[in-house]
Symmetry: C2
Subunit: 256 residues, 2 copies
Amino acid sequence: MINNKQQRLVIATTQLQNQQIFLTDSQKHYLVKVLRLTKGNRFIAMDGKGSWWLSELAENLTEATIIESIAIKTELPISVTLIIAMPKGNGFEQIISGATELGVTSIIPVNSDRTLLHPSPQKLERWRRIAQESAEQSERQIVPTILDPLDFTTSLEQIINDNTYRYICIARGDIPHLLNSLPTEQLLENTDKITNYQPPSIVIATGPEGGWTPSEIEQAKAAEFQPVSLGKRILRAITAPIVALSLVSSALEAKI
Amino acid sequence: MINNKQQRLVIATTQLQNQQIFLTDSQKHYLVKVLRLTKGNRFIAMDGKGSWWLSELAENLTEATIIESIAIKTELPISVTLIIAMPKGNGFEQIISGATELGVTSIIPVNSDRTLLHPSPQKLERWRRIAQESAEQSERQIVPTILDPLDFTTSLEQIINDNTYRYICIARGDIPHLLNSLPTEQLLENTDKITNYQPPSIVIATGPEGGWTPSEIEQAKAAEFQPVSLGKRILRAITAPIVALSLVSSALEAKI
């Protein structure tokens, strides 16, 4: 059996030749610098079309070898990352449980202008244990990755896949609803005939109590995040990520 | 200012003549027997097209007089009721907060085959206070009604509007996704030209930890509830109602 704590990486099928994966520079950076993998470490490569492979990082750190393919039953078809401003109190544990149940691929806890937390290593360990338990209870194959906390600005730069749909949830203002903004057809199109197909990913950011500051919203827009609404009412910081992920995972699964 | 704790009642515009509302037998039963209103008590009549009226029950208890119309900004266009198996522990308070933030009209806590709770009057009072606080924080105009707990079977009979879309969320099995089952177009169609238009309502039931029993699912089907899925993973009892209401309120608001 695979170790279901493996990290995931989205690859294009063109990167794959004879059971070898040729990593791009940004993928290598992500695996080696962000996830701190080293030679011989394993991760899961996913092609965005439903194929997942257990893979092992080669000695040169720029290639990986496919060990075996993985049968996926309850995972979302594409990678979904949640960037979330860490709330005060214990609310984050609820968010991790709910997001895991909804199929999230990875969670990036961030410090924002309105919240500044420095969780202890024990706290991070606890968060990852909650993700593991929730993954088991919700019958997932894979445990979501919870990254070490980052500054919000830094988190915006963690996107390594060009074909990523990016959203930042905003409480007020006349902006499109997330449900209208998800490109469901593009996400689920039959891609077998497309050469050089880049599988899509989704990244969605939800803010702290009090919301993102105007400066944070501007930074996100500059990083090609689309501002979206989750409805007419003001959601708490612990409700918003669950609502956002409900819409994303339902849009991905309802149409299949 | 209106007292925003008023209960709501869906009426057909044909029931309205010269500022008087002529109640049907089942509406009268609901107001007088279920909600225990008496002459002179006020409620909110909503026509499912965006018009809401503060109304006062007449002495004969079969008519009501319109006091004034109410401007609605952050409420859902139609009535959405959540039937929910009461979970053990404090999870129900989280559900009330989240459901209120998502615009729920009323919540019916039920005892199911797998859960049996008899909340004290103080507990019920606390639940209603949480609904009030969440309504204020999420900037709603109206506080959701939390009914006294019922047996699940009895709750299935509380539907007084013929044009009600009924759903029961089920964790396993090859059943349609809720997002595919919501009749968005019918719910939001332009009804100005339809005579004898019955405004629609939605009722959605989510189960306890361990799920509904087969017998409960059969009872719900007999009461014209449609079994629906919330995705491929198993959701906790406190996550499922938030996911279900996320989809309902987004389907109602995203397309407007």
